[in-house]
């Protein structure tokens, strides 16, 4: 009763993100009543295992007692204060900890509320940095198949046609260099060199999602390519932005994905997992060298005057500090290593289906593609069947991925594999 009533009211008044709403004529729209750990419960008390960490944000389960307690404690003290001219203990501790974790040269944190805004900040900062140094560069370079968010600046450096093509007349022109197709990336480096030789002096920054292009169908590529690409860019004075909105906080096997590369970027964009899936928060980490290029007498107009009202929200920072506590106290990265090996082993069973392929894994991200009928919405079929079995999967086109909260247990992983096997047997 409640279920139907809420469902109706929802479809009457909510325009859902990333959704053709007409699809809900045959797809259920599921109001969630409560959640615990990896499980979401609807108003009929049916449980769904959150295999996508609610859009890759949840790390330690829903309604995690430790994070909830930290937010409650903060609620009694200070919920929010303007961050211009003022500050608070949670954001100060969080910033010191993030700089410590990221290591040199990272030493400054600039905050915002979502990943798109973090990307916009990094783009603006890089452009402005060059200008403050007297260099007029105004182009950006990105990887093919990239995704960096949905605001117009972030969308400009992305390359997923589904999100971008329609808005072309509104977007900044951006240069694109191919992401490697496989372990051999000589051709991709050659193309990059050609682009740089032609446009190198006009480019502010090269932006990329290290190791995994998540929204780009979980395309995984080598750290070695990244290191070589960075070296090339540096020859041309080009800054590097790592969009680690989806890849950081242990998702790719190390705390930050960049730890798997030899070279570090100039800007590091973080969001999603930063609050463990609790609250919107994002941050751009950068170096003192870059900060100092903006540090000048007021009247020189070199300041970076970007702002959002809720920047550095105390409740979100409290959640983020609790998340870092959990990483510190529970040896998460090491535990995830074992868990991801277990996932790899269990998912082997799906290789029996000859219409599945490109099995791949990077840390706590596992993915494969449905090769059959690329033009049909096979992913959608899997989504629907999975829901019936109590799994929230959300395929990217015909790519099925498994990206669960880190608190998932072995039996739950086995259940996911067993269910997927049953689904594919029906295909």
């Amino acid at each position: 009763m409640m279920y139907k009533k809420l469902q109706k009211l929802d479809l009457e008044h909510i325009w859902h993100p990333c959704t053709q709403m007409k699809d809900h004529e045959f797809l259920p729209l599921i109001p969630i009543k409560k959640a615990k750990g990896v499980w979401l419960y609807d108003f009929d008390d049916k449980a769904y295992l959150d295999c996508v960490s609610s859009w890759w944000v949840n790390l330690f389960g829903h309604c995690n007692p430790y994070i909830s307690k930290a937010i409650k404690k903060q609620l009694a003290q200070l919920e929010h204060v303007i961050l211009a001219g003022f500050s608070h203990e949670q954001i100060i501790m969080l910033s010191a900890r993030l700089c410590q974790l990221a290591g040199k040269p990272f030493n400054k944190c600039f905050y915002a509320d979502n990943g798109s805004s973090a990307v916009e900040i990094a783009l603006k900062m890089s452009f402005h940095f060059h200008l403050n140094l007297g260099q007029k560069r105004h182009k950006f370079l990105a990887l093919s198949n990239a995704y960096h968010g949905e605001t117009l600046g972030a969308l400009s450096v992305g390359d997923v046609g589904l999100y971008k093509d329609i808005y072309k007349p509104l977007l900044l022109e951006c240069l694109s260099t191919p992401v490697p197709k496989d372990e051999n990336f000589e051709n991709e480096l050659k193309t990059l060199r050609l682009i740089l030789e032609k446009n190198g002096n006009e480019i502010c920054a090269f932006i990329l999602e290290p190791l995994v292009q998540c929204a780009g169908n979980m395309r995984m590529y080598k750290a070695q390519f990244i290191d070589e690409a960075i070296k090339l860019c540096k020859e041309f004075g080009i800054q590097i932005i790592f969009d680690e909105v989806a890849t950081a906080f242990g998702r790719t096997g190390s705390f930050f994905a960049f730890e798997q590369c030899k070279l570090k970027p100039d800007f590091l964009c973080l969001s999603k997992g930063i609050t463990g899936g609790y609250l919107p928060l994002s941050v751009v980490l950068t170096s003192d060298e870059i900060y100092n290029a903006f540090y000048a007498p007021y009247e020189t107009q070199k300041a970076f005057l970007h702002s959002h009202s809720y920047t550095g929200n105390a409740l979100a920072c409290a959640a983020a500090n609790a998340v870092l506590d959990i990483f510190e106290h529970h040896n998460i990265i090491e535990k995830n290593r074992k868990l991801s090996a277990f996932i790899k082993k269990k998912f082997e069973i799906l290789k029996e289906f000859d219409f599945l392929g490109n099995f791949r894994q990077c840390g706590m991200i596992y993915a494969f593609d449905i090769l059959r009928n690329p033009d049909t919405r096979a992913g959608l079929f899997v989504f629907q069947k999975a829901l019936k079995k109590g799994l929230l999967l959300r395929p990217l086109g015909n790519t099925i991925y498994f990206m669960p909260p880190y608190v998932i247990c072995k039996d739950e992983i086995k259940y996911v594999c067993k269910s997927l096997r049953e689904i594919f047997k029906e295909m």
Copy 2:
């Protein structure tokens, strides 16, 4: 001790928004320990009256027991769930209530995390709406002196040079029409008509902050101009976006600023006060007519695929519902009317200073300008002196404004006026 330690750590690791960080060589950076009502307390227990509602977000005081309780209750149930394909009770109730409050034609809510993102959504939606109808329009029209946020799309439709000029090479070209200087707006309407006659068929939407251009030095202008401008735009098939990020939720005297106009916009952007100053949340309200232009079979590619990970966050929606409860149960709009009359009366005392002028008020926003020495940072002088008296004011250049939480009491208002009088006596 704690104070100094935190201050040092802050300046070591945090790059504050909208700040030339070098200013903190002489300006204090104040870590806040706790807050209650209109008061913020630092680590020496010095109290500051939050005269700017922490960047215009706080409505019912810091650490408001009713809002805190609502968030705590939600923490026990569901902190967050992906909003694509899923939903939850808080966002469903909030959406129904917002549509009810805004009235026809508003009937659909599309969520995001900050004001900039809401503006970007409205711009993209308007562009895409025309495209879905087979019309290729790709320009936007905005008011001179406008401010709509900091991401590149939002910045493109703004006109505050301080934030925008440097980034010009990255921005979308945007048409600008003058905001009225005073009660006579015949010339401004003439200019608007000329712009529309030349470019009308290329313009997707006209975006404006109704009644008050807040970041544009609290410029106030008449609802009658807005109605006339809307009428003109409609002749050319141009949609209207009201950026009510700062003006809604009672700030301008009515619940929404648009209630003071005869005509309604096509898109309504809300944020800031929506959670009472607790958590980042924003939403774009629009009509079924516009929603239906995107409602089509999936393969037609008419869907609006914008998304942010934390869109529709359950904790933020719980805070927003608590805020609407307070409006409903405590007759806030009526109470504010009396309070703003009291503010007006008390601030009269400042008219004794001949170097102050342009005294103006719109609901719970009161502002005036320092007319002397426009090239000096007189506002900064006031900011520093006010801090010493325990007031957090944050002048916009040489515009001093008072925009307190609605729970401020008469004695506190009297104290603000008395303190300002003392400060101006020193000038």
